[in-house]
Symmetry: C2
Subunit: 256 residues, 2 copies
């Protein structure tokens, strides 16, 4: 059966996350599977690189599905005309049989965008998180430095999923001033635990606010206990920015 | 009675425009007046620089109101905590008695943002208008050149408001490539007729698509007839960017 890979953008505001749930819940997976079933005239199981929580956005979620049908370049237009405006299919590839959106992924990059201003702004609210107190990206970078590299991130995992290992590698991590009132936290890694990015951001903001430093962050990391970490940052500022696959597998994906 | 000036940003998506209407309509004016009445404990009439249509956004709408109460710097926080997330008060000034948000305005600037891509994008949909066909900003600039300066813009006025004169002056007008898939039309002038910016954008896009040029635009302008102009561009891409007042009046406004 042919296997297809999708690149999907979505505005997570009005969805209860990626994962299909009980009837009546609006989820991204549910909406995309419904459009697929309508076009392909058969039930389809869509597998994403990973779930995103309620309210989290995706600039480039990756997913795959199998179908008995052969698709052509019209498929992407049909999908986008059936999908709600809050979900767009950006690309479609015919994927090799060994492509698996979740298991083949080797890296993910998230952006967390903060509107840092004394006054909130209606036009920023949807895709950023508002923080009133003036932030220093230098300070935030220093606080987060201990998280770089391979660690057991158990302290930053929200419970709910049983995992064999909570060891992950953070390959990139930076706080950057994008505009005078916009700050971006960008983090890339081999994989992320449940709400790990939001727990890192929440903890970094908490430490920044309370005069904490890298040593407190290191202590929290070393405790391997969720209760050690601080608040979970809200989902509105979080965007799944990209998902990477091995170059040789990527090359075998053929865009329709 | 003290007079106050407000700088207001709003996401127009879920509003039926600026102007207060019959009960049951969600309008920006209605929502701001309701918050004002709650804080000031008296009915308030809010006067804006001008109306915006349903779905149009404002980065910096200006408005004024009179009240018997003296306001201090806490007022802006109270307002923003009462207002829905889609409206923010960005600044408050104590204004001189001769400040009138509409009549004192000497210039307005609008931005119309187009997402120019073969594929729509859920994360662009809210604040841009999607145009599939590849656009050339050089071409669009050339087409719009005849609109610069003082003209009777009757052809670009949507009927509905009786005006003494439909002569206006466009002081700035430019199409600019902001990003590979983002185009901005920026227009400033002494004032704008009903849906004038959207009618200009709609006509420019129509002429661009159909091989038209500056001479067709000039002919449409000279016909002084709305039927000569083409489609009205959708409101989603339109943002009221700024409103200017005479510098001497601006200087007499004292920020709280």
């Amino acid at each position: 059966m042919p296997r297809y890979r999708l690149l999907i953008a979505y505005d997570g505001t009005d969805f209860e996350g990626w994962q299909r749930q009980l009837e009546g819940s609006e989820t991204v997976q549910g909406a995309v599977e419904m459009a697929l079933a309508q076009i392909l005239n058969e039930p389809v199981n869509l597998v994403a690189s990973g779930r995103t929580d309620s309210g989290v956005h995706a600039e480039a979620q990756n997913a795959h599905f199998k179908t008995t049908k052969d698709l052509n370049h019209n498929f992407i237009r049909s999908m986008n005309s059936l999908l709600p405006e809050s979900i767009s299919v950006l690309k479609v590839w015919l994927a090799p049989d060994d492509f698996h959106a979740q298991r083949s992924a080797i890296s993910k990059t998230y952006r967390y965008v903060i509107h840092n201003s004394e006054i909130p702004n209606a036009l920023r609210r949807r895709y950023t998180t508002w923080v009133r107190k003036r932030l220093s990206v230098e300070n935030l970078n220093a606080i987060c430095e201990p998280l770089r590299g391979e660690h057991d991130f158990k302290s930053f995992q929200t419970s709910g999923t049983e995992l064999k290992s909570t060891v992950r590698t953070i390959t990139e991590l930076s706080w950057k001033q994008l505009e005078p009132d916009l700050i971006e936290f960008r983090v890339a890694g081999t994989g992320f635990l449940k709400q790990m990015v939001r727990n890192i951001v929440g903890t970094a903001l908490y430490l920044h606010k309370n005069g904490g430093s890298a040593s407190e962050m290191l202590a929290i990391l070393n405790q391997l206990d969720r209760r050690a970490a601080k608040t979970t940052a809200p989902p509105t500022g979080l965007h799944l920015h990209r998902v990477d696959y091995p170059p040789e597998l990527d090359k075998k994906c053929r865009e329709l």
